[in-house]
């Protein structure tokens, strides 16, 4: 009896491996250079998901390959073409916005379906039916933040400090400014900084303080935000602080006094301290392998692979199909399916490729993120 069981298991295993050739999943990311921190995180996240899926041994397995694009559009297209020669069937686009604009045009021309983990500019998906995003498009974060502040009645007089040479910061700020007045919020101060003058914020903070802002909105990454928090405390200004997903990571920043971030609110799709079992497992595995807490890029990469798995399963796609055969199947799935991942529950995509998921309101209490709702 035992022998028969072993034999059946072997046959099944063989059949499984013969049947389940992997789907070739490729993406480009800055793995070297200044933006490498984002590229590495997204790749690591995706790799964990691929290993988990392959270890579970279902019908859908993946072979993942990331190529370096050094955050440059020309190199990204070269990397994309190298992946195409390798036989990429489904694409993870590019990690950063500008390179992804260039590769998305190639994806569209070649009919290879793409789901980018983190390229958030609107031009990435615009006019392309087979390019989708896992992260919020920048403008959506601005309007979601305005809505959240108004609905929760956090403040009526708001100041904005933003970085005017950064696509991400500008995208969020523009829609925030546009949306805020319609919701009864008053923008009393709107101040900028740029690369090179991002260490002294006293002018911006004084302006916000004298104009009586109750809440300061910070659409930026966490490095300048940490300086703003420290300098505001130095001048005795204590408004409510509100950030977006770029603020995620401030607590793990080296040399940052966590007490400064006490009471900071942020809207982010991913929270590494969540008690949700999926997130706990992902964070534990990431810490084990890479010795650091995963950021939002890693979580987006992880979710992309699982979203692909779900869509390919539902569409009953098989790995022998060419990229242009898989593409229409995936477009149909992504515009209809609902996905639950570590960056959000009830994630849906619209036909233009933008994602809708509920941003989670978080507040920092005692040095940890706590849900606001």
């Amino acid at each position: 009896m035992k022998k028969i069981f072993v034999c059946t298991a072997l046959v099944l295993a063989l059949a499984g491996s013969a049947f389940g050739a992997p789907f070739k999943l490729g993406g480009t990311a800055p793995l070297t250079g200044g933006a490498a921190i984002y590229g590495m995180a997204a790749r690591n996240g995706a790799q964990i998901a691929v290993d988990e899926i392959n270890a579970a041994g279902g019908d859908i397995t993946f072979e993942l390959r990331y190529e370096d694009d050094t955050h440059d559009a020309e190199k990204a297209v070269n990397a994309y073409n190298a992946l195409k020669d390798w036989g990429m069937q489904v694409s993870l686009g590019s990690v950063t916005s500008k390179p992804c604009e260039a590769t998305a045009a190639e994806n569209f021309a070649d009919r290879i379906f793409a789901l980018t983990p983190s390229a958030s500019s609107a031009a990435v998906t615009e006019g392309k039916d087979n390019v989708f995003q896992m992260c919020f498009v920048d403008p959506n974060q601005g309007s979601a933040s305005a809505q959240y502040i108004a609905e929760k009645k956090l403040a009526t007089k708001v100041a904005v400090i933003w970085k005017n040479d950064d696509v991400y910061s500008k995208g969020i700020r523009d829609t925030f400014i546009e949306k805020a007045p319609t919701l009864g919020l008053e923008i009393v101060s709107d101040m900028t900084f740029a690369d090179g003058n991002d260490t002294d914020f006293s002018v911006q903070l004084t302006d916000a303080q004298t104009k009586g802002a109750e809440l300061v909105f910070l659409p930026m990454y966490y490095q300048p935000a940490s300086l703003i928090l420290a300098q505001a405390q130095g001048m005795g200004y204590a408004p409510k602080w509100f950030g977006v997903d770029g603020m995620d990571g401030i607590l793990t920043m080296e040399g940052f006094d966590k007490s400064l971030a006490e009471g900071v609110m942020l809207l982010t799709p991913f929270n590494a301290d969540s008690t949700d079992p999926k997130t706990v497992a992902f964070v534990a595995e990431y810490k084990k392998r890479f010795n650091e807490v995963p950021n939002q890029f890693a979580a987006d990469g992880y979710d992309c692979v699982y979203a692909f798995k779900q869509a390919l399963e539902n569409a009953k796609a098989n790995p022998d199909q060419d990229a242009d055969e898989i593409c229409p199947l995936l477009i149909e799935q992504f515009t209809t399916m609902v996905f639950n991942g570590v960056t959000g529950e009830n994630v849906r995509w619209s036909a233009n490729g933008e994602v809708t998921k509920d941003p989670k309101g978080m507040v920092i209490q005692n040095g940890a993120y706590v849900g606001l709702d």
């Binding site: 793995l31 070297t32 190529e67 370096d68 440059d72 559009a73 020309e74 297209v77 070269n78 990397a79 994309y80 073409n81 190298a82 195409k84 020669d85 500008k98 604009e101 260039a102 998305a104 045009a105 500019s121 031009a123 615009e126 006019g127 005017n164 040479d165 950064d166 696509v167 500008k170």
Partner: protein, 356 residues
């Protein structure tokens, strides 16, 4: 044509060989590409390689022929790229036929880059040697930061410019073409390999004709001995400026071709590193040697892509290969070795030496 006949035999042979190699390479690549024998990776690099070849040839005119070290060549490439792409976008509805639009865009890129070259050349070319190198480097950075803060929009009332922040206030239906640090998006890809080939041929024709004219002899006379050249009445600034402006114009056309091959372009792409990359093409190919520049541009563009299988060590290997090439091609023992196994070349080498 008469000018070519009057040339020294060796020189004429070198020019015809260059044209021949470029045409042969084009025919081979075009056949391989249309019969699908070429990988997508190679096919994707054809247009950028053409653009880099033109960049290398044009910089060689300044560095090799007129002997001025310029470290800001990518600046002219970016002026050409931004003005050319903006022209292409403005003409999108007026001129549906893409090749004509591409040609006009490249001409516009060349004109704007030549203008930039002229304005920069007036103060810069009074300097020489290291000073000139440093000032051209600074101008390259200035061009980059101007374009990083430049906004250009179009609406029914016409063109609108603004600096630092977007204050163009476009009417409804208007389109913001250049968006400061975000560069240009939604570019229609109209650059083609045949167009790139034609541009390379035009660049070669211009440079060879210029070099073998009265101007070319003037460039070289100034390069070899500035004081002697001045003493026989050559207007040094005029000669230098001609070479500089011509080189800037070709770089502008190349920049336009390059950026019309991608759907997005940002000013930061054309930074100091790009200038140095082009200088490497020139130095590796040999100063004053156009064929060498062309081959070096193609080889150094393809090389990092062919090294992708070494993943993390890719750029390290690239650097090692570059250093090795420089050392080996300048090693007398190795040169002698090749001359021994190729007896014909020894005689030719010596003949060329005595010619020179």
């Amino acid at each position: 044509m008469r000018r070519l006949i009057n040339l020294k035999r060796v020189e004429a042979r070198r020019i015809y060989l260059t044209y021949f190699v470029v045409i042969a390479a084009y025919v081979i690549c075009q056949t391989m590409s249309s019969t699908k024998m070429m990988s997508s990776s190679m096919r994707g690099m054809l247009v950028p390689i053409c653009a880099y070849m033109v960049m290398a040839v044009s910089l060689n005119l300044v560095v090799g022929i007129s002997g001025e070290l310029s470290l800001g060549h990518a600046g002219f490439m970016s002026v050409g790229a931004f003005s050319g792409v903006a022209t292409a976008i403005l003409l999108q509805n007026l001129l549906p036929f893409a090749p004509v639009r591409l040609a006009i865009a490249m001409i516009s890129g060349a004109v704007f880059a030549a203008l930039a070259g002229f304005l920069i050349g007036i103060p810069v070319l009074r300097l020489k040697g290291d000073y000139l190198a440093i000032v051209t480097l600074a101008f390259g950075e200035i061009i980059k930061s101007i374009l990083n803060n430049f906004y250009l929009g179009v609406d029914s009332a016409g063109l609108h410019f603004s600096m630092l922040s977007d204050t163009t206030r476009l009417l409804p239906g208007g389109q913001l073409i250049i968006r400061g640090p975000m560069g240009i998006s939604r570019i229609m890809k109209i650059a083609t390999f045949p167009a790139g080939f034609i541009l390379v041929m035009i660049a070669l024709a211009i440079v060879f004709n210029l070099v073998n004219s009265r101007f070319g002899r003037g460039f070289m006379a100034i390069r070899d001995d500035r004081i002697a050249a001045e003493s026989i009445g050559l207007d040094v600034t005029k000669f230098k400026l001609t070479a500089f402006v011509m080189s800037a114009a070709l770089a502008g056309a190349a920049g336009c071709l390059f950026s019309l091959n991608y759907s997005t372009i940002v000013a930061n792409k054309f930074d100091f590193n790009t200038s140095i990359l082009i200088l490497v093409f020139v130095v590796l190919g040999g100063q004053g040697n156009m064929l060498g520049s062309i081959i070096a541009a193609a080889a150094l563009t393809i090389l990092p892509e062919k090294l992708r299988e070494f993943s993390d060590y890719r750029m390290l290997l690239y650097a090692v290969i570059l250093i090795m090439t420089m050392l080996i091609t300048n090693n007398d023992n190795i040169k002698a070795f090749f001359q021994n196994i190729l007896p014909g070349s020894k005689a030719k080498f010596q003949k060329e030496e005595s010619d020179a």
